[in-house]
């Protein structure tokens, strides 16, 4: 079991710094894009403890995020997909600063998110990285008017604004997300699910952030409502030129909204690349099986059928070698010994597999 006390931490960090120079999987989708978020060798372990009267014993670690390097470029939408327990939510919480990493760092431009040098920098980080949650009902205070909820960040970040200015900003953002100013004088329970998600977007956008983390923003909604929220997100994304990390388990949704996509499995990114490339010709067998598992409503879509055996292994006892080897349909002996790293496989797609795939999974018939 890996030790996470401070002395051994330093050792690992030094080791990884030398690697960082060359390995940053994925490249920007547009030429003048800048790096806004940089995740360096991020690890987040949760300890499993048994507590007796006097002693607390650590039995092991849940390796929720286990070595992730990632760059997010300005104005892009990065889709993050993977099954439950793969660490997508832990990764996003660590990026916004809700969780402290066990190892590694997250940088917002020149600022370390978890160690801001002063209050000004901390406020600047907070202002520029906002979050949209899955369930907008539990993330809005039921006792406060929507206008008060939306106004609060302005009070903290822009104390110079007058009351009129603040209200003006609230009305403006409500209109931008497709609501009316009178909606500000309602409580969260008076809204439908789709409208509440619009409020959730308004709350994130009112600070005019550079990065938004959207954790399953449409999975609680019905399809017809989901479509309107996705349209709205696309409009707002180009209007505000904000970079979005879009977490979802629905691959069709991710395909629709994102420029790049990262596939996670058991705490690691196993494949990352431009959306079209990854979905047209996935390279990692896990991506292949994920795409093959999507049920399609369109009868003209035909697919290669890959049904995975078994369940996702526990992130406490990882299989030796490649983490996917226990479920992989093309597993070889080598896979159980070697832990593959992310490498550039084809075009701009990086994947961590010793025997990558090179065939399409989906076929589209003409009507």
């Amino acid at each position: 079991m890996e030790d996470t006390d401070s002395s051994s931490n330093n050792h690992v960090i030094e080791e990884s710094v030398s690697e960082i120079e060359e390995v940053f999987p994925g490249s920007p989708t547009s030429a003048n894009a800048e790096v806004v978020i940089e995740v360096r060798n991020l690890r987040k372990y949760f300890s499993i403890q048994s507590k007796s009267l006097l002693f607390t014993k650590t039995l092991g670690y849940i390796k929720a995020v286990d070595g992730i390097d990632l760059q997010l470029f300005s104005g892009e939408v990065l889709g993050l997909v993977g099954e439950s327990g793969c660490g997508k939510s832990t990764l996003s919480k660590t990026i916004v600063g809700l969780e402290k990493p066990s190892l590694g760092q997250v940088w917002y431009r020149d600022a370390n998110i978890h160690q801001p040098i002063d209050k000004v920098e901390r406020l600047q980080i907070r202002r520029n990285i906002q979050m949209v949650f899955q369930d907008p009902y539990t993330s809005l205070n039921p006792r406060r008017l929507i206008k008060d909820t939306l106004e609060e960040p302005l009070l903290i970040h822009h104390p110079e604004m007058t009351k009129e200015d603040r209200l003006g900003a609230v009305y403006k953002i409500l209109q931008q997300v497709g609501l009316e100013s009178y909606h500000g004088y309602r409580y969260p329970h008076e809204f439908s699910g789709g409208q509440r998600q619009r409020v959730g977007l308004a709350r994130a956008l009112i600070m005019n952030p550079e990065v938004i983390l959207a954790d399953e923003p449409v999975s609680a909604l019905d399809v017809s409502v989901q479509a309107s929220i996705l349209n709205l997100m696309q409009d707002l994304q180009s209007e505000f030129n904000v970079a979005i990390i879009f977490i979802a388990h629905d691959l069709s949704v991710v395909k629709h909204v994102s420029n790049r996509v990262a596939v996670m499995y058991l705490g690691r990114i196993v494949e990352i690349g431009p959306t079209e490339e990854v979905f047209d010709r996935p390279s990692h067998p896990y991506t292949v099986s994920l795409i093959s598992a999507i049920p399609f409503a369109d009868p003209t879509v035909k697919k290669r059928k890959v049904i995975l055996e078994g369940d996702v292994p526990s992130p406490v006892n990882l299989p030796p070698g490649c983490r996917f080897s226990s479920r992989c349909y093309k597993v070889q002996d080598r896979c159980k010994e070697e832990d593959p790293i992310l490498e550039l496989k084809r075009g701009n797609t990086w994947s961590a597999c010793l025997f990558p795939e090179d065939e399409p999974v989906l076929f589209f018939e003409e009507r």
Binding site: D222, V223, L230, H249, H256, P295, F296, A297, P299
Partner: protein
């Protein structure tokens, strides 16, 4: 398709069913004249968005409605017997033995303090004339058939020792161990991840074929419907708006609601353009729109839509409840031709 309207082919027929709920704010008309059928050996889907009456339909069939709900009118003919007319004692022999139900959340459908063996054999010995040892053997066989490894030893485990996908397999095994004729599955894979969902759907499908039973799959996921079922009934606002063979209906939807619904899902084929949306919200069933329930949100609606549209047979084993479907269809064909 000559045998389509053959009465003997029908296993379950719901005719003009009205189910109401009494609530503090008034009467909720959850089902408002629902008519559909399930045939022998086929997989049928009931599809719709939240609040359209999918789950209430299953509860009405099994007569397990919450206390404030009641099926006030209509017939539920199962193999020629109207289930609504049975005594509650007779009904108990139908539930499980004839019509089995599979729930959405497998953890809350299993009792955490009893072993799987206890929970499976209880059900088996209640409905089948077997002793304890035989019941256990039936349970183990069934668990093997749904792909639970080491069923002989794992049967003595508790529900929390299984993963979500495995728990759903146990519920399938338990439901099928009574050899029912009809399996009602209410969102059986909604709580599962895609790769596990694919496994579970694969099992449900192959068990349905092997055991020659009929499946009524209730879901909101149009993809699951397309890949699992032969026929589909589209629900909206407590009524059936369109029915037909799944592939045919998804390729050529005719009801404006079905058309809009299919266009609003992001597809792998479509580009990054705007998704089609349906304006407005799902109707409140306390005070539903008069006439066609979809007319306030429908782009084709006219004055006649304020009366209830009749259900029309339109060939190819398809039914539709819309006044304007012909014009809409012609217009869509023209648009397709000109592209």
């Amino acid at each position: 398709m000559s045998d389509v309207e053959d009465e003997s082919n029908k296993l379950l027929e719901v005719v003009n069913l009205y189910t109401y709920f009494r609530t503090e704010s008034g009467i909720v008309k959850a089902l408002d004249g629902v008519t559909f059928d399930v045939r022998k050996n086929e997989a049928v889907a009931i599809v719709g968005e939240s609040g359209c009456g999918k789950t209430v339909t299953a509860q009405s069939i099994l007569r397990i409605l919450p206390k404030n709900g009641e099926s006030v009118e209509g017939e539920i003919n199962y193999m020629g017997v109207d289930l609504l007319k049975l005594t509650s004692k007779q009904m108990r022999t139908v539930r499980g033995k004839e019509i089995a139900l599979l729930f959405q959340d497998p953890l809350s459908a299993l009792n955490p303090v009893f072993t799987i063996a206890r929970q499976m054999t209880d059900v088996i010995s209640l409905h089948r004339q077997v002793d304890v040892e035989e019941a256990r053997q039936i349970a183990i066989d069934m668990m093997n058939r749904v792909g639970i490894p080491e069923a002989e030893t794992r049967i003595d485990d508790y529900p929390h020792q299984y993963s979500g996908g495995m728990r759903q397999r146990i519920l399938i095994a338990r439901a099928l161990s009574l050899e029912p004729t009809l399996l009602l599955a209410d969102e059986p894979t909604t709580a599962l991840d895609v790769t596990i969902q694919a496994q579970v759907l694969d099992i449900i499908r192959s068990m349905q074929k092997d055991m020659g039973l009929s499946l009524m799959l209730i879901t909101h996921d149009l993809g699951v419907v397309r890949e699992t079922t032969d026929r589909v009934h589209i629900f909206y606002g407590g009524r059936v708006v369109e029915s037909g063979p799944t592939a045919n209906l998804f390729l050529n939807p005719k009801h404006p609601y079905t058309i809009a619904l299919l266009e609003s899902i992001p597809s792998f084929k479509k580009g990054k353009g705007k998704l089609a949306t349906i304006p407005g919200v799902v109707p409140q069933l306390i005070n539903p729109p008069i006439g066609c329930r979809f007319h306030p949100r429908c782009v084709y609606a006219t004055d006649i839509c304020k009366t209830r549209p009749p259900i029309e047979f339109i060939g190819d084993d398809r039914k539709i409840a819309c006044f304007h479907w012909k014009e809409i269809d012609e217009q869509r064909m023209k648009n397709k031709g000109s592209k």
